[in-house]
């Protein structure tokens, strides 16, 4: 079998066009910048029809057209790859596009449904009015679906090493591949002869699985402490803000190193921290329900008990472990729903620990503003409890900035996970997550860049997508 080219049989046709489009785009952009210095201000007053186009405008138009062409050709590569038969004709891009077919279908369905019903979907629907928001959402959902279908997409096991594939360039055919084994390393092999493409895809799952959850916990902690700090102000606020500042001022990397040092892990410190940090969602939920339904004691007892039963079980499953050496073994084995590996727990704890002070400060600031509103006074004057006012009158109205920050913070968390992986902290050294993979590929970066490049670009695109999504949400939530 021959090695694959990047673009397969589409190459001779599309490659020159692609290059040409890029060249023309660059020239047009440059021309637009230069010409805008030369030509005077266009007359914008009065009737719009009378507007004359200056040379700079024409250059801008050309740049836009070329950009459209570039997008079109890129789409051509992806769609062409889907349609052509056989890996040789598809090329690397085409084959990857084919592997990602479930993702494309899911994205198409999601977008079609969302755009059709966008007027009925509130803020989420409004997102589809902003191009930036749509692009960001598309990128994020691309990685979410990729993570979801990872096992279908990946071509090889992320840990299998195939002889002769060490540091091979993208598209290398596997010599003497068995039947049923995919015949190529699409994005090449790393220095342990593992498939870079499969590791990248499965790494997405590692990232998507941890980052949002860790962020949710950070928000829970930040909100549960930030709302009362802003509402009561005074001494409570001073103490909590001081603590938050203390944590923020502490060097983060040093904190991580400390948390994962075996001696510290042996003292059980991370586990106890996990105990404390993970109980916040439980407290939050209980207070939320109690404040809302305390006027109907019967109903309240039922719903709070149900919540505590489910939440408590999850909480105990999370912190207790079946491992005989574990610090906390509260639940009997048959009740323990799942075990979180110790190193992931440490990652969770450190992410929550460094993110929650920032969330705390944001929430506190918003609450300080909202508590002066009349509807808060109205709730107070009808004798509502403080927690009802905080959680049902104030918090829902702080959601706008919080949703935006949530998106941005998932991005930070993703980078933080990468950083942790890069330092070899937290996740196991064999884990395909992007940070660890970048660290592995770093050593031979000058000779074989591809093992590090693939996860690095993935990380970049996911964080970019999240930031664009946050931008889109912010823009749309401000509009009416």
């Amino acid at each position: 079998m021959e090695n694959l080219t990047w673009t397969g049989s589409l190459g001779p046709l599309l490659n020159p066009l692609f290059l040409l489009a890029w060249a023309a785009f660059a020239v047009a952009v440059l021309a637009q910048i230069l010409l805008s210095f030369v030509s005077g201000n266009p007359q914008m007053q009065g009737n719009a029809l009378a507007m004359r186009k200056s040379p700079a405008d024409w250059a801008g138009l050309a740049a836009r057209a070329m950009f459209g062409l570039i997008v079109l050709v890129t789409l051509g590569y992806l769609v062409g790859g889907l349609l052509l038969p056989g890996p040789e004709a598809k090329g690397i891009i085409g084959t990857i596009s084919t592997r990602l077919l479930p993702v494309w279908i899911s994205l198409a369905v999601l977008f079609a449904l969302s755009i059709t019903f966008k007027r009925r979907l509130g803020l989420y629907g409004k997102l589809f009015d902003s191009t930036i928001g749509m692009v960001g959402f598309g990128i994020v959902m691309f990685w979410v679906f990729t993570a979801f279908y990872a096992d279908m997409i990946a071509t090889h096991d992320p840990l299998t090493q195939l002889s002769g594939m060490k540091n091979k360039v993208p598209g290398t055919a596997i010599s003497g591949a068995d039947d049923g084994v995919f015949g190529y390393y699409l994005l090449g092999g790393d220095n342990l002869a593992r498939d870079v493409f499969s590791r990248m895809i499965l790494g997405a799952w590692e990232v998507i699985k941890i980052a949002p959850f860790a962020t949710v916990f950070a928000f829970m902690v930040g909100i549960t402490l930030g709302v009362p700090a802003g509402y009561y102000a005074g001494t409570l606020d001073t103490i909590l803000s001081f603590l938050a500042n203390l944590i923020l001022a502490f060097p983060v990397i040093l904190l991580f190193y400390l948390l994962v040092t075996p001696e510290i892990v042996d003292t059980g410190l991370p586990t106890y921290m996990a105990m404390v940090l993970f109980i916040f969602p439980l407290i939050f939920g209980t207070v939320l329900l109690n404040s809302r339904y305390h006027t109907q004691p019967k109903f309240r007892n039922g719903i709070v008990a149900a919540f505590l039963a489910v939440g408590g079980l999850l909480y105990l499953s999370l912190i207790s472990s079946n491992d005989p050496n574990a610090m906390i073994r509260i639940l009997p084995g048959w009740l323990d729903l799942f075990d979180v590996p110790g190193n992931i727990l440490v990652v969770f704890v450190s992410v929550v620990f460094v993110n929650s002070p920032t969330v705390f400060r944001i929430v506190r600031g918003i609450v300080l503003d909202i508590r002066t509103r009349d509807y808060v006074a109205a709730a107070q004057t009808r004798g509502e409890g403080a927690w009802y006012v905080m959680l049902w009158e104030i918090l829902p109205n702080a959601r706008g900035p919080l949703i935006v920050d949530f998106c941005l913070r998932i991005g930070y968390t993703t980078i933080l996970l990468g950083t942790l992986g890069f330092f070899g902290l937290g996740l196991s050294p064999e884990s395909p997550d992007w940070g660890t993979t970048i660290n592995d590929g770093r050593r031979l970066l000058s000779i074989y860049p591809h093992p590090a490049l693939a996860p690095a670009l993935s990380l970049m695109s996911l964080v970019l997508g999240l930031n664009l999504l946050a931008d889109g949400l912010r823009e749309e939530s401000l509009r009416d």
Partner: protein
């Protein structure tokens, strides 16, 4: 640049149409608007919020933002078409020949720049004068706007000045380059009444002194009457009537203008004998305007097939000077017909005393150093010896400007704060020391409040029905969810809102509707005392009457005691049985409405009465303009709280005003005044408001 020889009209707007473009549709904001402002003339632009009056002003400034565009017509300033000017030419005109004054003074001044520098910029940019000359000019103008100690003013930052002083600086800045046209967009709405009166007087005097033409935008007909020569009434993007003040006020020829005048409380209106007539229906949304006459659906004289047939043009009213109306039937309507719709009701007799306060005091301690809590403590005396009683189904108005302590009193009454000393008796039970958490449900539901700002009074992320039901839950009304829902729907009926509103979100409601929901919520637990904190001041004129009437009607049926907090004396006279005037935490005058509105007055009441603009050409007012601003409650003057601004101070022998807090003097049964003036001086006072004989 400046053409001094030009003698024609300063501003000519012809058939102007302005639209805003959103991603869904084009929204016409102003349609077919024409007006002319002659040199030295003041033109008033009146209308409710959303009628397009500010858009006209922005159109004149050619500052419509990215979404707005002029889609038709022309704006000529001194004969030159503003629509076809380049950005550079416009920059030259803005700020030098056309100046604009905005509503919020703090937002128009750069907080990081000294006042002097901001003022000097104007002539330095537009005329290129030297720094020295610019400083001299700034000093002159600041003196002109009657600010004390001009040199210190020029050297201070905006936040160091009070709201009234800031607005004077903004006016000074507008006058720096001696503009030919001054656009004032609700210049006094953010100010207190007595300060407003002084600023309005100033604008009037300066207009005469500099010969500036003015475009005065306001929602307040009374203000326009006091400041302008001509008026243009706008409704839903169109000018509906224009003419001289006398013509429009006394011989109005458009049904909207007429309805507007019938819905504002003028002297003579009375809640029982001559109630206000609210305009039915709601202001149409810009994209839901009816065909033909925009006012058609709310008009008493509406004639189907005619009024909704096609576009209606401005028609001149013969015999009057440039008086026009946008009504097809103005010749047929009998404009002098008496108001038919008003229904007189029986006056309700107040019952027994429900609420009684005795020498109530509320002091706040403010630490001088916030960080360590040490050092000297300052005491803010928010309420000083408040004593009064309120009876069942009585309306007691509490009148005063910002900082007078009325909100603090409301807080103490509600239990959000506890009193420093004195007593509050609710049904002979002391409640002054019980914070709201310790009050029983009945006490809490007995005293409820209606808030001022309709856009703030409802939680934006909860449905209307849910919010009312929450109040029912808290007050323990109804045993089951269904019973409460039923009760909630009845409450919506009570405030005359359709039952479908239960599932709406607050943002889908107009200001008046939100305020109705707020009223429904306050009455959820069968409140016996309702504190209404300026419940209608943020609403449009035509909606105010409807909400006021609703409050009155519920009060009549439920025998509620209404504590009506307001600074608007027109509405107080209309609906209050008794009035209590407050200044800096003191009650300075208390009595029945008739007693307070007739001499003898407390000097502050006199100034307040004179300051409130009244939209009636027949009313003759005595001009009492107070100098200066309200002192800070942190640092009140010694002796009488009002002595720093009092015009009568010289009539009191010695320096008693400065040293001694006056005692309450009873002048008549139930009428008390806190003043050092002798009985003879008080009796010699002349009435402020006189209605000229017809």
């Amino acid at each position: 640049m400046r053409d001094e020889s030009y003698t024609g009209p300063i501003l000519e707007i012809e058939n102007l149409s302005i639209s805003f473009f959103t991603r869904l549709r084009e929204i016409p904001a102003v349609m077919d608007f024409s007006c002319t402002v002659q040199p030295g003339e003041a033109m008033g632009l009146v209308g409710e919020s959303g009628c397009g009056k500010s858009t006209v002003a922005l159109g004149v400034m050619q500052d419509l933002g990215v979404n707005g565009r002029i889609v038709g017509g022309s704006i000529r300033f001194k004969g030159r078409d503003l629509n076809s000017m380049s950005a550079a030419e416009l920059r030259d005109i803005r700020g030098s020949e056309i100046a604009m004054i905005y509503q919020e003074p703090m937002a128009s001044l750069n907080p990081a720049m000294r006042i002097g520098k901001q003022l000097m910029e104007v002539p330095m940019i537009h005329e290129g004068v030297s720094e020295k000359e610019a400083y001299a000019r700034a000093l002159e103008v600041v003196t002109d706007v009657r600010l004390p100690d001009p040199e210190r003013m020029l050297n201070s930052f905006p936040h160091q000045l009070s709201g009234g002083q800031q607005q004077r600086i903004v006016i000074a800045m507008a006058l720096m380059s001696k503009p030919s046209l001054l656009i004032l967009d609700e210049p006094t709405t953010a100010l207190d009444v007595t300060v407003e009166a002084a600023v309005v007087q100033l604008v009037k005097d300066l207009g005469e002194k500099y010969g500036t033409s003015m475009l005065f935008i306001s929602h307040n007909l009374g203000l326009v009457l006091e400041t302008c020569d001509r008026i243009c009434v706008m409704y839903s993007g169109e000018a509906v009537e224009t003419g001289s003040i006398e013509d429009v006020f006394d011989r109005m020829r458009h049904p909207y203008t007429q309805a507007l005048f019938r819905s504002i409380p003028l002297p003579g209106a009375d809640k029982n004998a001559r109630p206000l007539v609210a305009i039915p229906g709601n202001f149409p949304l810009p994209h839901e305007r009816p065909p033909g006459c925009n006012f058609g659906p709310r008009c008493d004289y509406f004639e189907a097939e005619r009024c909704d047939a096609g576009d209606i043009l401005m028609a001149p009213v013969s015999g009057d000077d440039r008086h026009g109306t946008r009504c097809l039937k103005f010749d047929e309507i009998d404009w002098d017909a008496p108001i038919a719709a008003s229904i007189a009701t029986e006056k309700t007799e107040p019952g027994q005393v429900v609420l009684k306060t005795e020498k109530l005091k509320k002091y706040y301690e403010v630490a001088a150093s916030a960080l360590f809590g040490g050092g000297a403590h300052k005491v803010v005396k928010a309420n000083e010896t408040l004593s009064f009683e309120a009876r069942e189904s009585e309306t007691l108005a509490i009148v005063g400007e910002s900082g007078c302590g009325k909100s603090t009193f409301a807080k103490v009454l509600m239990g959000l704060e506890t009193a420093t000393s004195g007593r509050i008796l609710l049904d002979n039970k002391e409640i002054q020391d019980t914070p709201i958490e310790e009050r029983d449900t009945k006490t809490v539901s007995n005293i409820q409040m209606v808030f001022q700002n309709p856009f703030d009074t409802l939680n934006p992320s909860m449905t209307v029905g849910r919010q009312i039901m929450r109040a029912l839950e808290i007050f323990g009304v109804g045993r089951t969810e269904d019973a409460r829902r039923e009760h909630m729907l009845e409450l919506l009926d009570l405030v005359k809102l359709p039952r479908e509103f239960a599932t709406r979100m607050p943002r889908q409601l107009s200001g008046g509707q939100k305020q109705r929901v707020g009223i429904a919520r306050a009455f959820a637990g069968g409140a016996r005392i309702v504190i209404a904190d300026e419940p209608v001041s943020a609403l449009d004129v035509s909606v105010q009457a409807a909400v006021t009437d609703l409050l009155m009607e519920i009060q009549r049926n439920e025998k509620t005691t209404l504590l009506f907090i307001s600074h608007d004396l027109s509405i107080v006279r209309y609906l209050a049985d008794r009035v209590m005037v407050m200044y800096l935490g003191h009650v300075v005058e208390i009595g029945t409405t008739d007693q307070v509105f007739a001499p003898p007055y407390h000097p502050y009441t006199e100034a307040l009465l004179s300051a409130v603009p009244i939209a009636d050409t027949k009313v003759k007012k005595k001009h009492v303009v107070l100098e200066g601003d309200i002192p800070s409650a942190m640092n009140p003057p010694p002796g009488c709280p009002f002595q720093t601004r009092c015009n009568w101070k010289s009539k009191v022998p010695g320096n008693r005003c400065e040293t001694e807090v006056p005692k309450m003097v009873t002048t008549a049964e139930g009428h008390q005044i806190k003043c050092h003036l002798s009985r003879e001086e008080l009796d010699s006072m002349e009435p402020v408001i006189q209605i000229a004989a017809e």
